[in-house]
Assembly symmetry: C2
Homo-oligomer: 286 residues x 2
DNA sequence: GACATTCTCTGACTTTAGTCAGACAACTGC
DNA sequence: GCAGTTGTCTGACTAAAGTCAGAGAATGTC
């Protein structure tokens, strides 16, 4: 059944979903405001937001967005301020009335979600929540965006910081990254602009590339992101002309070791003097 | 975590969904036709459809639907014929060009679904399919429609036929329903108009009501529909003034027996001469 | 400091989506 | 056979959603 065609299940679910829960969005209606305006108001959120960011998140034409915002300002729901950091940009903030209206939207959405969950018995409810949690994780994982980044770019720095922090947490004696070393080509996976996986390839010699700083965000474990990143880095190494990749790792990172083994990596002798490394791997690239 | 608030997971998923899978619907865009028209064309489907049915499925204003259909006929994609069974109704059928256009929509949707599933490794893909399958079942179950029906109404007859057919399949010596007996108040649960669960209450005396013909559609087992129907029937019995419900069942229906026990039913002595019954239950209604 | 680019905003549009009232034919129940 | 209902269609609307070109200020780049 699951063999048949995953797309069938997805499309069937899509149908069910748009018919029954799609109403979650339309619940924004009935507030006296059109859907688009409500959606915008909700997206601004209690903490405010930049106009630029809104345009990207909602994928709106700039002129159209201006007009939608005007409706909200006319209703006294939001205020527009220039961005102190960049005079061209503007920042939207909810007024007191806007916060009330926002809360109302939030309540409606919550109420609608409840009507969907309520008819189910506790056991079914748990199953539904678990299923949606898994689906959420995997759909997000599937739509993650992998791209090469200079390791000096902010996203890359943030990803690397996560990586180092995790090593520091997991190694019995902590971890000291030492001087930042930016040699190599790096790849970051982002979801909604947030880095969720990271890794790079550094050339050791003509044949050999070393895979560095493989990291997957805690909340994204178990979605296959690690293997996907690993495959991506292997492809990258191939493109860089390498015929073999190596990597080192610490003995405490058991899942990582298991993943390398699953991916066809073989244990080899120590090839570097990394004081934190306790296992070394290699794989031939075909 | 799942303890916290099921609605959080649902709402989070809803967000992920509208952003990433919601695009499945918009895959109908870019065909040179507006979304509404494409959606209608797709809904007509290769086998055609009644105008009435389309109106209900898509929840459209009748005047609006007529105009949308006119666009499709003008483009030569569908033909309208009067329904031979009812001169007021009309039936929509795809023309050859319409079938081509329909297939194009289907391909687009399929392609988009594939891009969503493809980045995942086989193991993750299976997990996603399983999760969506579960979610689909439970969302449908949660939005099932329970209502009282005269046992002579077509939906009720269909549900009862399913019930008798199942008994005939499961009892070692088959089952003969005998003369149709329509005494009692019956409840049918429907999803998209299809009966998925059925049951009724027949008064035995002032205090006691008997629960009859409890049935849940094969594909809907495990969604908690049985218990929900049972609770519904108990409420109904209470409303009818009963203080106690009884029921009989065959020993082969193990899940049913387990469910009755879970719901607080106690074994009692034989109270009727039903030749197929092998176990008798009772429960006091508070 | 010149030139290109980015960001917001305005004006002038079009299309899409949807509503409401009523006409008219076909059917249903009694 | 007649009253009431149902199903489709027309006409006359309105609001929502979205597009496109360009103006003008602020910023980045060399």
């Amino acid at each position: 059944m699951s063999e048949a065609a995953p797309t069938d299940t997805l499309r069937r679910f899509n149908r069910t979903y748009t018919q029954r829960i799609g109403a979650l969005d339309e619940s924004f209606l009935g507030t006296g405001r059109p859907l688009g305006v409500s959606r915008l108001l909700f997206e601004v959120g209690p903490d405010g937001s930049g106009v630029r960011a809104l345009r990207e998140r909602l994928d709106l034409d700039s002129g159209y967005l201006t007009r939608l915002l005007r409706r909200l300002t006319d209703e006294g729901l939001v205020d527009l301020h220039p961005d102190p950091a960049d005079g061209r940009r503007r920042v939207v903030v909810l007024t007191a009335a806007g916060r009330t209206a926002w809360r109302e939207l939030d309540d409606r959405s919550e109420a609608l979600a409840r009507t969907l969950v309520e008819p189910l018995a506790p056991r079914q409810r748990e199953r539904l929540v678990a299923a949606l949690h898994t689906a959420d994780l995997l759909v997000r994982a599937a739509t993650v965006h992998l791209r090469e980044v200079p390791p000096t770019e902010p996203v890359a720095r943030r990803a690397a910081a996560h990586y180092f922090a995790e090593l520091d947490r997991r190694f019995p004696d902590g971890f000291d990254p030492g001087e930042p070393d930016h040699a190599g080509t790096f790849v970051v996976a982002t979801s909604d602009g947030v880095p969720v996986a990271y890794g790079g390839v550094r050339p050791i010699d003509r044949e050999t590339g070393e895979i560095k700083r493989m990291w997957v965000h805690d909340e994204w474990r178990g979605a296959g992101l690690g293997s996907r990143m690993l495959r991506h880095l292997e492809d990258l190494a191939r493109r860089l002309g390498h015929t073999r990749v190596v990597l080192d790792t610490n003995g405490t990172l058991l899942e990582a070791i298991a993943m390398y083994e699953r991916a066809g990596y073989a244990h080899i002798e120590r090839y570097n003097d990394n004081p934190y490394a306790q296992a070394w791997f290699a794989k031939a690239l075909s």
